[in-house]
């Protein structure tokens, strides 16, 4: 008892603000993001943050224990990317990663609609993972050569991690599509439901013109994305859906209706107890 008490009393207090994240992102040797670079970092950071939050909801609900662990690990990687990117975005106007994650309202988020698609059933989550991880793989592959050293460093680390995420999504796509009639039916429905939101990822907003070679032009990622997805869908004997294209608008702050609910859950604690640490 004495031992347990002494451990409990000697609190290990770690607040996010005390922890120095990558030195590339702040400090004397760090860089301050220009407003345009910060906006681009928000695009990527919000995509990662929203997807991480969604995947976290699977913990204790996935079809098997290994999947609880896998989806949680993928979410953790994405949260790491989000923290680096939001931290960098915040250097433009003195906001912290927590300010950006917890104290922005829906129209101030910049995530694309693909990442905001609800978890649905497990096949929907896998369909979304297939599209998201393939997109992130081709994006970070190019972004690691960015003229902006911070974006290059974050991408150079992330590219190795999203390759694992993609491997996971590909294996499950094949397994579900080639499994039972029911799993195949669900995988087909999921791809049908998810694919309309893919187009938005490859639109060049005016911001991209201003940033030049510091970033990757989204439209140039379409061909490598399609080339990476085609053999997976072919092996799974799935059609590339061409039903319709969703309007999108996440980069302008116009979001899929589910984002508000997600943010409410993600932000409620931080807003109820501003400044609290653990």
């Amino acid at each position: 008892m004495t031992d347990a008490r002494s451990h409990a009393v000697r609190a290990v207090h770690i607040s996010v603000d005390e922890v120095e994240l990558a030195a590339e992102l702040a400090g004397d040797e760090g860089r301050t993001a220009t407003p345009d670079i910060a906006e681009y970092a928000l695009w990527l950071g919000d995509d990662a943050l929203i997807l991480a939050q969604q995947l976290g909801a699977w913990i204790a609900h996935a079809p098997e224990l290994e999947e609880d662990v896998a989806l949680a690990n993928i979410a953790l990687d994405l949260l790491g990317h989000a923290r680096s990117l939001l931290r960098y975005a915040g250097t433009a106007d003195g906001r912290s990663e927590d300010d950006l994650a917890y104290f922005r309202d829906e129209p101030d988020f910049r995530s694309a609609w693909l990442f905001e698609q609800p978890n649905g059933d497990f096949a929907h989550t896998i369909g979304r993972q297939l599209a998201a991880s393939t997109y992130l793989s081709v994006l970070y592959e190019r972004l690691q050569h960015s003229g902006d050293p911070v974006l290059a460093a974050v991408a150079g680390k992330a590219v190795k991690e999203v390759a694992y995420h993609r491997d996971h999504a590909v294996q499950w796509t094949l397994r579900l599509a080639g499994g039972t009639d029911e799993s195949r039916r669900r995988m087909i429905t999921a791809i049908d439901d998810i694919w309309p939101y893919v187009d938005e990822l490859f639109r060049d907003e005016p911001l991209i013109d201003r940033l030049g070679d510091a970033v990757v032009r989204p439209s140039t990622l379409r061909a490598p994305f399609d080339a990476a997805v085609a053999p997976v869908l072919a092996e799974a004997e799935l059609e590339v859906p061409t039903r319709f294209t969703a309007s999108g608008g996440g980069r302008r702050g116009e979001h899929f209706p589910t984002l508000g609910y997600l943010l409410a859950e993600m932000q409620v604690l931080a807003r109820a107890h501003p400044g609290a640490t653990w």
Partner: protein, 187 residues
């Protein structure tokens, strides 16, 4: 009134099981050698057999006008143990007699399992975690190397899940002895 016990943090729970992390204060050598040796004693709390030097997380130690700067790099972007590691480094280096300690995290160049030392690999296997098999191609033959069971040394093993108890590990099982084990995956 129900009294609820204060739950220990993960680091405290680990300390309760493993005992406090030893702070070895090297007695001699130059200031830089002593600072480096102190920083090198820190372990990843989730891999308590492996020092951050053996893990390849410790990248550099410098002293500039009495300020010790320790440079580390995370294994995975979201590794939650980096915060504990940074705290432990500052504590270890201060205990070695340096008042001003600054821990910097750098993302680039990105960490790879190739940076795990030979001693680190040996200790991992001894601890029951199969060490990474290497990310570099070893010759014209493509394909992954067999992962050796750390318990019975059989190469007849299979992957149960690509993702394991931490971001850096996958879950394997041995077909020979039947035991499950962690594999420190190539990265």
């Amino acid at each position: 009134m129900v009294m609820r016990a204060v739950l220990p943090t993960r680091a405290e729970a680990l300390e309760a099981v493993l005992g406090p992390a030893p702070v070895v204060v090297p007695a001699d050598g130059t200031d830089l050698e002593r600072a480096r040796a102190a920083a090198s004693t820190v372990c990843d709390p989730e891999l308590p057999v492996l020092s951050i030097a053996d893990l390849g997380v410790l990248r550099d130690v410098r002293i500039d006008e009495d300020v010790v700067t320790v440079v580390v790099t995370p294994t995975y972007s979201g590794c939650p143990m980096m915060q504990v590691i940074e705290r432990d480094i500052a504590r270890a280096v201060r205990a070695a007699g340096f008042a001003d300690v600054h821990v910097r995290t750098e993302l680039s160049p990105a960490w790879t399992t190739d940076w795990i030392s030979a001693e680190g690999r040996r200790r991992l296997e001894e601890f029951g975690i199969a060490p990474p098999t290497g990310t570099r191609p070893l010759g014209p033959i493509q394909g992954g190397l067999h992962v050796r069971c750390p318990h019975c040394r059989s190469l007849n093993t299979r992957e149960i899940s690509h993702y394991g108890s931490t971001a850096c590990k996958a879950l394997y099982a041995c077909r020979s002895c039947g035991e499950p084990f962690d594999f420190f995956k190539d990265h």
